[in-house]
Symmetry: C2
């Protein structure tokens, strides 16, 4: 595969032109007015796969936006790689913060600027071009399947059912995903774990109407006071979640593995400066990286109640609300955690108010053991293209569909991310460095090589 | 004064017609588009006073909405009563909850339904008609002054300066105010105290932007978590405010006086039912009435931060905010309390966030001793019209201007309220029972009689 660099060099302009055609389709899955664009983006992907060398490709219906499936079969004896990506993108508001049209990609400062440049059009498209190279140069020694969905940004709602109904079609030895980041081009990394998620809304109701805080204040429980106290008590002085049983199933990572993880470069001062805080805070006994990587967290995502306008309006409000969430780690089960939290939170409610907890969302954590063949193949691939052995990183984020794949299809995923923290995915001025784009196209064929060789 | 009832009977239709003309002027002081209506309402009041028998009346400018001043002088030897009221009303939103046009009064079920029917057009107008009766029947033995302001509902911002500049003009022996409630027609009461108020906004800033709760959750202090914990700790398990020094100046009411106050009828079950709660909550060692009457309180009036829309959006927000307030009692100084709270709250902020406390508003508490001549005269007046001796009640609410009058003019106020809890002031469908309206007009002349006789 000495010619991969040359292949990229000879085709780089065309790669960009093709990617830009895909980016120009405003496939915002959350916008019901974009249903037609979602279909166009799927049809585009079908064509991309066929052009790249797939035996077949088709747009398949779901209850929501369609899924694109494509494949190339080499041999019954060859291992099968299932590439997962998504063609839908996040909304672009606030539009006035963009320096250029989000759906008209421009190259500037060595980066592609557009919605989807990284997440996930840019990253998924690298797989199409790596595949093209392998096919065109007769170096493909794996069967390849592509699964490109259209609802990742809205929770992959219909993909689990699609998987249930297409287990045979999706059968593979590993799932390959480029939808995450790496630490830096000088420090390549592979995401070896993702946190799970549990998400609730809590509603506290006190009096049946907003009351005069003078006439009633002091004698009637104030829902905001109560909610604050209840939420304030959910983390103890050591930063531990106080819900009984919360840590029961947490996978305790060995001292050895923690030591290995600790070798990933991390500059506390730089980290603090980048987010503008004077000090960090978290669970006692763990480093900042461990707190987001191997430990669960508890965050209030939103809170509201009473008067929030200008100036001083006195009121003893009837209701107070909060959106609260926990990032979970293996082997916490989000259903169990959701139940435990609901039961506990409702149980500590004072008699003077009504407290209702609704479970809004959830996903399981995921871990990719760093000693399985697929991980090893990915490790060697990065080593070959970047010249540095990548470090495994447990990401604090959640991609619920990854654990769903494991549950339904029984297949592990390897998360070969080429995005950078600075790519501003989900934000205005999303971008993707050209160098990462081309490096991704270079790295992926090495994965196939090493994976097929095992 | 045996003829007061007859006078009311003969003129009741005219009284209503005149009041309705005043109510029809939409004098919402907070609405800058209503500046013309505020002036019209003031001009109307000037005419009401002249028609009722004032020697003179005028609309006087302030930096905000005008003040109406009127007077009738009897003799240098007679005591002088200053009647205070306001012609401005609260906004009417949400309009769709009104059963009739808020500015087109209707009589239904024995009540006047309109914005201002009670607060304070209806109640202040009773004084004009009581005054008219005394003048027309030659039974007025006090000098009378009227001060009708236009900014009570927006904090009487310009009235203190008006008082400073017009001390001689406003000189009086007592200020008479009908802008409060009484317990019930079967249980007349006089408000003998008002709570003060301190009001702050607290702003908590964590990271310099909203963060991904997966990538950062657990390692970075969440401003909502922090704010909740800080606010949650402001009331201890006994319902006491934990700000150091908060209770230092609280006037401890004697066991004897508490016993007397405890005689005011209060049905806990009815109270709970009326506001729709299963249980009450407050400072240990005090009854519900004491908690709102003689004890300070701490209420969060509003809270906001992060994602508050539909569904489950994960975010570790940059900021969290709350509007918090304390009702104060004699002799807590609102300036001192404001400072104490700010210092304490900022001092308990963890290093990982920035906490800023802004003082938004404040007012001193007020107490009217129940043994001064003016209070005694009011007591006898209610006794005569209602046939029952009224009980003194410490109201939980605040009318900051009342303590300002005492500070600037050196005059005590007597709060002869005829409103009922059910009058829905500040809410849709404000109303005022006709019986209370006429009973007010009957009671006020008795006050003048007994006050002049002392």
């Amino acid at each position: 595969m000495k010619d991969i660099k040359q292949y990229i060099e000879e085709n780089k302009e065309r790669f960009l032109e093709e990617l830009f055609e895909l980016i120009r389709i405003p496939s915002i899955s959350s916008d019901s007015a974009r249903k037609g664009d979602m279909l166009r983006a799927s049809e585009k992907w079908k064509q991309i796969l066929l052009d790249a060398g797939a035996d077949r490709a088709e747009v398949m219906e779901t209850k929501g936006h369609p899924v694109v499936f494509g494949e190339k079969k080499i041999s019954d004896d060859a291992p099968t790689v299932l590439v997962y990506g998504h063609t839908d993108v996040m909304p672009v508001d606030p539009l006035e913060l963009w320096n250029s049209d989000p759906f008209e990609p421009v190259i500037k400062d060595g980066k592609i600027w557009a919605r989807g440049a990284d997440d996930d059009k840019g990253q998924a498209f690298m797989h199409a071009k790596a595949f093209e190279y392998l096919v065109k140069t007769n170096q493909l020694h794996c069967n390849v399947k592509f699964l490109i969905e259209g609802e990742e940004e809205i929770g992959s709602e219909n993909l689990p059912e699609f998987c249930e109904n297409n287990k045979e079609l999706l059968k593979a030895d590993v799932i390959l995903v480029s939808d995450t980041t790496m630490l830096a081009p000088e420090t390549p990394s592979i995401t070896s774990g993702l946190r799970g998620l549990a998400y609730w809304q809590v509603d506290v109701t006190g009096p049946n109407r907003d009351l005069h805080s003078g006439m009633f204040g002091g004698a009637v429980a104030n829902p905001i006071n109560v909610l604050s106290k209840m939420i304030g008590g959910l983390l103890d002085e050591n930063g531990k979640v106080t819900v009984p049983g919360f840590y029961d199933d947490v996978l305790e990572v060995s001292t050895e593995e923690r030591e290995l993880m600790g070798r990933a470069p991390f500059n506390v001062e730089k980290y603090k400066k980048s987010i503008g805080v004077e000090a960090l805070q978290g669970e006692a006994g763990f480093t900042s990286q461990e707190r987001t990587g191997i430990r669960p967290s508890f965050d209030v995502c939103g809170i509201w109640g009473g008067y929030t306008g200008e100036g001083a309006k006195t009121v003893l409000p009837s209701k107070a609300h909060a959106k609260v969430s926990s990032r979970l780690v293996p082997h916490q089960d989000h259903h169990k955690i959701a139940r435990q939290f609901k039961e506990y939170f409702e149980s500590i409610a004072p008699e003077a108010v009504k407290v209702e907890v609704s479970v809004l969302h959830g996903g399981q954590a995921y871990v990719c053991p760093i000693d399985i063949p697929a991980y090893k193949a990915a490790e060697k691939a990065y080593q070959e293209s970047y010249g540095i052995r990548p470090v495994p990183v447990r990401s604090g984020g959640s991609i619920p569909i990854i654990s769903t794949f494991e549950q339904i299809l029984g297949i592990k995923s390897v998360l070969m991310g080429f995005g950078l923290e600075s790519d501003a995915i989900h934000s205005p001025n999303e971008n993707f460095p050209l160098e990462q784009f081309y490096k991704g196209i270079e790295t992926i064929p090495y994965f196939y090589k090493y994976f097929a060789a095992q």
